[in-house]
Amino acid sequence: MVFSSNFFIFAFLPLFLLLLFLTPARYRNTTILIASLIFYAAGSGQLVSILLFSIVINHFLGIQLSRYSSKILLSFGIILNLGILGYFKYAGFFWQEFSAAIARLGLSTENSSLDIVLPIGISFFTFQAISYLIDNYNGTIKPAKSLTSFGMYLANFPQLIAGPIVRYSDIQDSIEKRPISVDLLTVGIYRFSIGLGKKILIADSMGSLADQIFSLPQSELTSSLAWLGIIAYTLQIYFDFSGYSDMAIGLGKMMGFNFPENFNQPYRSKSITEFWRRWHMTLSNWFRDYLYIPLGGNRKGRYRTYFNLFAVFFFCGLWHGAAYTFIVWGLFHGLLLTLERLFLNKWNLKPTGLLGQVYALLFVMIGWVFFRSDSMTQSLSYLEAMFGLGQGVNEFFSIQYYLTNDKLLTLILAVVIAVAPFERISSTKTNNPKIYFALVVLALVTIELAGNVFNPFIYFRF
């Protein structure tokens, strides 16, 4: 189930909120847990058993780690979680590569592909579980008081599928007891509606533009179209992802939680280093705290720091998907961060001002080419087209074809919202009537969603 579906907005959400508010406070975690499991099973079916297993085993391990602080137990917990993630997310990819390598040697394997269905959100709940175990081991948190409480935390449906990655420490004070106030509810409605608007009114519109251009044959991909395509995708991925985070944060507030912020206008960054302080902040913080710092961070010399950056971004790329394009995207960012660090260390140079913003945005967009492409071949030919090295000629589709009045307006609005230096849209206060603006956005979204399901059949029978 996705937040941006009619069924979620008009059926699941009202029913859930009604039940939540009718439930006595001490049973609300149970209501949230059951709703979350139904939400998950609706999208993943019987794979909900993986989530249930993760809840039970990590709850048990958390309690043991808080008692014994055992390195062996922690290692077991981390390996188990990563093993499950590795099997479901990466086994197919590595097996395919292994089979291809074997085939190149003239040998053949009977099954060249593994049919493993990826449980939705497994990357998110695995990382949450690992942070829970490590924090219990370090003694920075107390384990959940009950299986229900922990299950409610790990399976919490607003952030289960697309984040933000909520650490137990972020919400531990509100797990057992939390007020649901009118103010919090209003803020939640505001964030949810704005997030939905970002997703439906901006991201989906830009997404259709990007999809059309990325699907063009190489022979028709001109430089201007390639740039339009990547600009559209750059906006799509930001508004889609940050929209989902806004919706999650908003739903969390409706339940009485304060989930951490995940985006802070990342396209305003003046360097790649700053970009990663503003983009998917809960993931970069997770990697910083649970991988970069344990590897030694920047405390073990210059070259070790560079290595650590590469290692972190290699895994960051891999976390996003089991494909070379994601790995290259991660390494590309690792390289840029290393270069920025090198320039800073050696010449005390760092990108600033408008030039820095242009530099950061340009390289982020180049990175998105890898992220969006289906293969490395497509990435490279797309980059060639962007920089005028491709063979594409403008045969059928001009810029004018793609940039219809509505798309143009959406693109301009999206750019303004993404980079304009006004108070960021993720403000947590609604001390003015902007909630009513958000409700207008919500009304527009409901209308737009209907348009998405209008699917008449052409009946001219040729």
């Binding site: 189930m1 959400l13 139904i38 609706a42 307006l409």
Partner: protein
Amino acid sequence: MSKPLNYLAILLFGIIITLPSITTLIAFEFTTPLQENRTKVSFPETLECVKNMNLDVCHRHLNDWFNDNYAPRDLFIKLQTQIDYTLFSSSDKVHIGDDDWLFYRSTLDTQKIVNERVTDDEFTELLTKFDNLSKALSAKNIRLAIIPIPLKDTVYPEHLPSSVPNLPVNSRYKKLQKWLAEHDTIINIDAHEFLSKTKEQQRVFHKTDFHWNDPTGFKFAEALTNKLWQNQEGSLENIWTDTLSIRTADLSGGQASFLPLLVPPSEVGLFVKMNWKPTKGVYDYSPAKPWEYIYDGTNETRAKLGHTVVLSDSFYDAFIRSGFEKHFKSIHRTRTLSSDINTVIANMPLETEIVIIEFIEVYIARLAQNGFGDEPTHTTN
């Protein structure tokens, strides 16, 4: 913000998210239902979902059902279309030309592009196949008529909006038409030229529908009938005697249903007033495959043209409404949607004297890329 305003906001939010479900439960009808030419998704078998524990499958089905059936859906679709139309003059289903001429996006943005992406080799092979077909039929004294028909955007480019794809002037359709004109063994009428001339006298396509209008179909049927007769008799005499009488009526065509505004787009459509005697021939609407119907003109005195097989699309329907078929001894008709050329050739009756293949220009890609269908195992039955 004051508490009352907070409460009001929460109330409004509650109304927005609950109204669709509540009105669905009470089966409230907000507006006249939209025409979508398909069956809407039915409510899932709840017991089956529970029994098999397939919550994901059940949810998918429930989601599809909800998307198709929630009460304010059609009103919201109309509002969304109206907003796009009023503010941006755009729609994601149709191109909106000047004076509200409508053109399917799927045709212009996809099918015509696919047509133009047909490679030179594929196109040459298609021409060779047409040539071979005409020779094979000619050896059996069967005459072949091939009639590709240009679409509304080709005939009325002046009404296209600027946002349509750039299509080459010398399109695959034009190249095929030129090749046909150069081949005397194939009977053909240059439909583009014919329609371009006719449009100086009357509108030839509906503004809100995909098809040419019936008066145009009438005129084209007349021209084709006379051409077949002249070819059969080797004379310049015309066989068609009916005169065209035009009536007008309000029309909101098929393309208008793809632009569901609060007030649907409409036009004054041109239609044919029937002023001829209906045929005495007999129609069999339940023949064996691949035929859609078989017309037997034995009792019809006006039936002077030979036994004919027709592979055609819905543009041919305007011929039928113009009394075209009364001129034939018999007609076996099938559609391009359900049959291919080889199937028609393999199943045509022994007495066949004429084969008519009529198709709209975007069919060229299908012919070029998928061929004429499976090679026939026998030629007649």
